[in-house]
Symmetry: C2
Subunit: 437 residues, 2 copies
């Protein structure tokens, strides 16, 4: 019988610091849950001199990853270096050395998850990645265990805290994207280069993982339609409010007639829905299963300690397995590796949705009729239309909400309408989730 679980941590940044804090400060509690001490034996990072605000016992810090990979006392390797090549090499080397691996690296899993899942499977080691989606929210476990009896029909949610923080402040304060982003960067809520967050790429990484687990199919990350929030204006937020909607950056995955839909884009959601009320850096994920109906999980989507909570929950689960000599109990992809099936990912132009469309037009007679006529020719029917103020000869917005329509038809209509002489700038299109009224 093993008398302790040895853990090695690679990457001592924000999340790594949170993990170390949880492992050190809650050591007694974790021991009571696992049965034996779970000891953080080594922490590897290039910079081992900086003070990270956590007391590390002498001899634990190293700059040499091999001291972790080659140490027989280490059962579990936590990879928190981020990025692709080095992180992947570390993970595959750890797996090859028979070590269980825990990671928060959604980008790597979204792109190379299949290879890593297969390596873990073939080496009979566990792979934990609860921290890769939704920070401290136990969403991975909900998919692989808690809701495993269900055929998952859809999963959607707010899975990027930075963009939700920016949209929340734009909505509350009426400021522009650029102004709020600048403040968010100063306050530390957005990175110096915020592209991954505001362009929807981070959400798409996470959605790839969620859809993979939900539907039991490999997802080609590159096929996920991804649109960020950089073009969202105060004006569209205000119009959304008039229609009873709030704009959120959602990751959406659905399974329809044997095909998967997976897309990330700004979305109008009914302002009285739970998702609309998720504010600031919080994340929320809404799942629909055939037996359970709808379930919503809500919590802090990022941050040192919440993400540390998720990493250490994986360490505890694996520690319990190690003590019993069991591994591979819960397949990382929720479905057994040999039971996963390729499912076609629908190209974006095959989806159907409700749409919000804003046209900036020269205010002159007949314009509304021309827009409505073009939409009609493309099989798009209008559920409501808003034109505020009349300023003959000047540019005014025309705002339209459609009934359920096909993306292909809507894009075609946009193209046609954007070519018209009365259009002063390309139309804005925001998809709407909710009931077709």
């Amino acid at each position: 019988m093993k008398t302790r679980i040895g853990v090695g941590l690679i990457g001592f940044g924000t999340v790594g610091t949170g993990v170390a804090k949880v492992l050190f400060e809650n050591a007694a509690l974790i021991r009571r849950r696992v049965g034996v001490p779970v000891e953080l034996l080594r922490i590897a990072d290039l910079d081992i001199t900086r003070d990270r605000g956590v007391a590390v016992p002498p001899g634990v810090l190293t700059t040499d990853v091999k001291q972790i990979l080659a140490d027989p006392a280490i059962d579990i390797v936590i990879e928190l270096v981020g990025g692709y090549d080095f992180a992947k090499r570390v993970m595959l080397d750890a797996i090859a050395a028979g070590k269980h691996v825990v990671t928060a690296n959604k980008a790597l899993l979204a792109l190379h998850g299949e290879e890593i899942f297969a390596a873990a499977e073939s080496q009979h080691v566990d792979l934990g990645f609860e921290a890769s989606v939704g920070g401290g929210i136990p969403i991975i476990r909900a998919l692989t265990e808690g809701l495993a009896a269900n055929r998952i029909e859809s999963i959607y949610g707010i899975i990027n805290g930075t963009s939700n923080y920016i949209l929340s402040r734009m909505t509350r304060e009426g400021h522009s994207f650029d102004a709020v982003l600048k403040e968010a960067q100063q306050a530390g809520y957005a990175e110096a280069d915020p592209t991954f967050d505001v362009a929807g790429i981070d959400s798409a990484h996470k959605l790839a993982i969620l859809a993979n687990l939900a539907f039991g199919t490999p997802i080609n990350f590159k096929e996920i339609y991804t649109e960020g929030i950089t073009n969202i204006t105060e004006q569209d937020i205000a119009y959304a409010r008039e229609f009873g909607y709030t704009i959120k950056l959602l990751g959406i995955a659905k399974l329809h007639n044997g095909a998967v839909e997976a897309r990330v884009h700004p979305t109008m959601v009914p302002s009285d829905s739970p998702i609309a009320k998720v504010e600031g850096v919080y994340n929320a994920i809404h799942l629909v299963g055939d037996a359970v109906g709808d379930v919503i999980l809500h919590g802090r989507g990022a941050g040192s300690l919440p993400t540390g909570s998720a990493v250490v929950s994986d360490v505890i689960a694996i520690g319990r397995n190690v003590l019993k000599g069991a591994a591979g109990l819960v397949p990382p992809a929720s479905f057994q590796q040999d039971q996963r099936r390729p499912i076609r990912l629908k190209p974006m132009d095959e989806i159907s949705s409700l749409y919000y469309l804003r046209f900036m037009v020269l205010d002159r007679p007949g314009v509304l009729a021309q827009i409505a006529g073009e939409l009609g020719r493309c099989e798009i029917s209008i559920s409501s239309m808003l034109q505020q103020g009349r300023r003959e000869g000047q540019t005014v917005p025309v705002v339209i909400k459609t009934h359920m329509a096909k993306e292909r038809d809507v894009q075609k209509a946009m193209c046609e309408i954007n070519r018209q002489a009365f259009i002063s700038e390309p139309a804005t299109l925001i998809r709407v989730e909710g009931k077709d009224e």
Copy 2:
């Protein structure tokens, strides 16, 4: 290597029917997740002739529980008979026969959980009870696994769908408790004898389980302060709204200075909080952990299929364990049995809270001063006071919100004030969760 997992179901009522539907209809999906077929081999019930709307293969139904307990092909016994004595005997017999057990029986676990946990531990079998709290919401797994890295500070929520349905309708429609209860009974949302639900007993059963897992301590169910919703009036709901609150029946458990607080009572929560917006038969549970911060899980708290989803999630988890010859990986109480510690449960008069107090008084000069004076003498300070209309010589309500106060002091003040001649009926007291402003 086993080529299938055999399941026996005891109790073919509402939840049993849901479990059978999920196991039959999602058999292919469950097989893909577990690796081998999970087969419902036997269903035992006293009534095996009634049509339950689910097609059961011939030979599966039996009236004899022994056909399940003695069948070596059955690995997992699902106990859904409810109640105490017979259910407990079935579970202990199944455990003694080396079978893993899954149950939704919160009443039994709240009263005899320790004995059942210990039996499962000593027989090295798994015990699943995800379905005992929150219907389809994976809250048990969140406590035992997903948030296991955290010292849980508090857990509270709406954990009884019937009483939430009644309160939601009273709030929305302004009707009385009796009127809404009658309608709920006709619509099938409340039992003919609704005592367990509306008196808070069902919530207290579930809270006992949650507090046990959250804090790693046996909870004496009988020590949980339990107050139901039968005395909630339309008037108090309306006053709550004026103060910005919504009345919900909450189960609340907190760990403070080495003592546990566990109580079920109608509670005013800020109307803009997520818990206030949980409507109808939905449940929601709010946890605060030292690392993760706050997490909210929301979903259907009851019903055949949602509860079936939770039961079958346990069957899947145990099935995966059985295939690997592993059991007891996750201790049922989240903490290892020998690592649980008795923690003192605070008597109700030791708690502190904000309070809403409503006095029905004869409207005459000096009454307000007498009430305020008595509260002051008991160390209770008033945060706001409402007296509507003046009807000299008649009975009028005086409504008060307090700052943080001690339950003991508040009860003492109530006693004193209720004795006064100007009081026309005993005062109403509703505890308030939220910020002390």
